[in-house]
């Protein structure tokens, strides 16, 4: 759950679902993050991927999460706070 509230720079990420088929399979380490995009350092170079409408596979402490990009579609500094609020709202 902390995956929403933490800084994604330095995390291993893979794009598993995207409306753009060319983006599916982009895998690497996040080197930069903006409000709407992630910059991923992959084998084929640096790729900028939009967060919205994508699903990402993220490795956090050995556990793999499937995260919808819409949940992280905020500025990094805002997202950390919003992530904490979202975690508090989770039911069950």
């Amino acid at each position: 759950m902390k995956v929403l509230a933490r800084d994604w720079i330095g995390m291993e990420v893979e794009v598993i679902e995207s409306p753009n088929p060319c983006e599916i399979g982009i895998r690497g380490i996040v080197i930069d993050e903006t409000m709407h995009t992630l910059k991923i350092k992959s084998e084929r170079g640096n790729k900028i991927v939009t967060k919205k409408y994508r699903w990402f596979k993220v490795n956090v402490d050995g556990v793999y999460f499937k995260v919808k990009g819409d949940l992280i579609n905020f500025r990094p500094e805002e997202r950390i706070m919003r992530g904490i609020v979202m975690i508090k709202r989770i039911k069950g």
Binding site: V3, K57, K91
Partner: protein, 191 residues
């Protein structure tokens, strides 16, 4: 497919995967805690004592609105004289509280009362659609004779303007939340 009922049946009927039973103890199915409150103080007192899957049933608008704002509350259960206003539906969309719309109140009523229920339910569906609030269509059965297959329930509410596909989506999400260990919230799962 999950149905919300008010009695403990002997077995599962009509191809439902599970029942959530409110108001009675059950070992065979999922047990929900039903809170019936007439005022806000009573609701607060009962919420402190309750745990698990919680559904609130009240005829008061204030109580329903207060219930929706509570993190503990999972469902707004359906009653014949339940009152839900515009702001309650909007809040339920934000706070992820599922609004139950049941068939049993229509079966139990007749005449003018049933016509009034039709009118209210139609308006409620319009507001739910506007805010994309979570809602499910259930039998709300108080006894064996009120149980209905989901197809019948959905066909009936489709006539009143319900978005049946959306209701199915919310029901599947509810099922995942209750029975899937890997599901955390909408948009976040463990692989």
């Amino acid at each position: 497919m999950i149905d919300l009922i008010r009695f403990n049946p002997e077995k599962i009927y009509f191809n439902y995967s599970n029942y959530i039973v409110f108001g009675e103890e059950t070992d065979k199915f999922v047990n929900g805690c039903m809170i019936i409150a007439r005022d806000v103080n009573e609701l607060r007192r009962k919420l402190k004592e309750s745990d698990g899957i919680i559904g609130v049933a009240s005829e008061s608008i204030k109580v329903n609105r207060e219930a929706v704002m509570r993190k503990k509350v999972d469902f707004l259960l359906d009653l014949k004289r339940r009152r839900i206003d515009y702001s309650t539906v909007k809040l339920s969309a934000e706070k992820d509280v599922i609004i139950e719309i049941s068939l049993s109140k229509f079966i139990e009523s007749k005449g003018v009362e049933r016509a009034r229920l039709f009118d209210e339910t139609k308006t409620l569906f319009k507001i739910i659609k506007k805010f994309d609030a979570p809602f499910i269509l259930t039998s709300g059965a108080n006894n064996f004779y009120h149980l209905r297959p989901y197809r019948q329930i959905s066909d009936f509410f489709k006539m009143l303007g319900a978005d049946v596909k959306r209701a199915l989506y919310w029901m599947e999400r509810l099922g995942r939340r209750l029975f899937d260990d890997r599901y955390i919230m909408n948009g976040l799962e463990i692989i």
